[in-house]
């Protein structure tokens, strides 16, 4: 069966693999390079838990044909920490108790990072908009919104 060679940057490192025709980026990340941080929640584009950044833009990896990221940069939650140090967003999510089951957390963090990378001081409405493509069934969203706001303000206090 014909496979296509694919190379891209994954959290700053070059990776190479062979993909079957039609393979989506979520499968490529999880099954071919073992990055389990993006999750499968629907395969429909509705839940956001597979969210990654492609060249800095928020994308749904389940709806991305893997070979379209050839030569591009893909960031996942696996690359968010700086060495052993948590990213301010990760710290803020923890401090605000913004995760329960934790399954939406990787996608939420990527959506929040996409926002703060472009807009370091967002309003509450902008935060709400930024995470609107991500479903959380546990928290009621309030602690997640507070976490993003507190990461943006640089403080560790609850917003």
């Amino acid at each position: 069966m014909a496979k296509t060679a694919l190379q891209f940057r994954h959290n700053g490192r070059d990776v190479a693999m062979f993909v079957d025709g039609g393979t989506n980026l979520l499968v490529a990340l999880r099954e071919l390079i073992g990055d389990m941080t993006p999750k499968f929640g629907c395969g429909q584009g509705g839940c956001g838990t597979c969210s990654v950044l492609i060249d800095g833009e928020l994308h749904l990896s389940c709806l991305t044909l893997a070979e379209t990221v050839a030569g591009r940069s893909v960031e996942t939650l696996d690359g968010m920490k700086d060495g052993p140090d948590l990213h301010p967003l990760q710290r803020a999510f923890a401090d605000n108790f913004a995760a329960q089951c934790g399954y939406c957390t990787p996608g939420m963090l990527m959506a929040a990072k996409a926002l703060l990378d472009r807009n370091p001081q967002p309003s509450r409405a902008e935060v709400v908009e930024a995470i609107s493509g991500n479903i959380c069934r546990c928290t009621g969203y309030e602690p997640i919104i507070n976490a993003v706001l507190s990461a943006a303000s640089g403080g560790r206090a609850r917003a």
């Binding site: 329960q100 908009e129 928290t139 969203y141």
Partner: protein, 340 residues
Amino acid sequence: MARHRGRGIASVNYPVGMNLGGDPSQALVHSNPSGKFTVALSSIDLGQGMKSVTRQICAETLGVPVEDVYVDTADSDTGPHCMGSFASRGTHRVGNAVMAAAREARGVMMEAAAEELEVNATDLETDGRGNIHVKGAPHRSISTKDVAIAAQFKQGKTISGRGIFLVPLSDVDPETGEMSPATCYAHACLVAEVEVDDETGEVAMVRMDSAYELGRALNPRLVEQQLVGGAWMGVSHALYETPEPYYPDPGHGPRDFVEYLMPGPGDICPHDIAVLERPAPDGPFGAKGPGEMCANPVLPAIANAIFNAVGVRIDDLPITPEKVLRAIKAQGGARPQPRR
């Protein structure tokens, strides 16, 4: 066109644990030679915080810092039997099992410490910071680490404990329904304020105020997680979600998260919560279980608030804009009730 505000209330109680009991859970607690404890369970953490709350229960019972305890869940080879994570039974049933196991392990730990300090175990106490000392004489002290080393390599003792918690099964009288469904109950009362659009039937949440009585709040942050998230789910159940929008007609079922309606981050409202703690006599440190009941008062409180706002009673869940609009039209327009 007008938008009308209204407030409604509901008060509820909720049984803790499987109905009729008969739902055991077990726990094993043991120390490694450095005095760090592992709790082995087969109970599931669905996000509700099972690992975290049992960790605190274990640490409190042992008298060690929480950092010295790690909870390992859900391995059928190493974790002893648990009925499962449902029926608000986690904190109450598993918590009690962990407490029992930790109590037994503490007994061994205190005996081992007593042997090292050459005193009676009954004369010892833990300081919660990793030390055991003679009551009233803090300088006659030994660390839990040193106790663990001594127990393992010198005394040949295993600092471990087994725990089980079982509410004995009760029977049901088929005719009268006489039974013992639960040993303790949590309570709540919630006030919902809504705004209803009388031309479209749309209902927007304005705010919620609530009081929940949950026995001991073992970890207020975890309680808050359950209550905030649970109230959100209550709003969702009240106004939005169903896989059968035309029930009992089974058609037009949602297939994705666009068609399955749940409130988004732009639909939430402020929620001010008070937590009351009336300890349950048989709960671990008096705890009951907030996980399930937190959504329940929200549904009727919203329905009652809609009545207060526009004078229509919607007795079918979910309360869609269509149902509200049909009812408003049927009564010839909104009839706001006295403002509360």
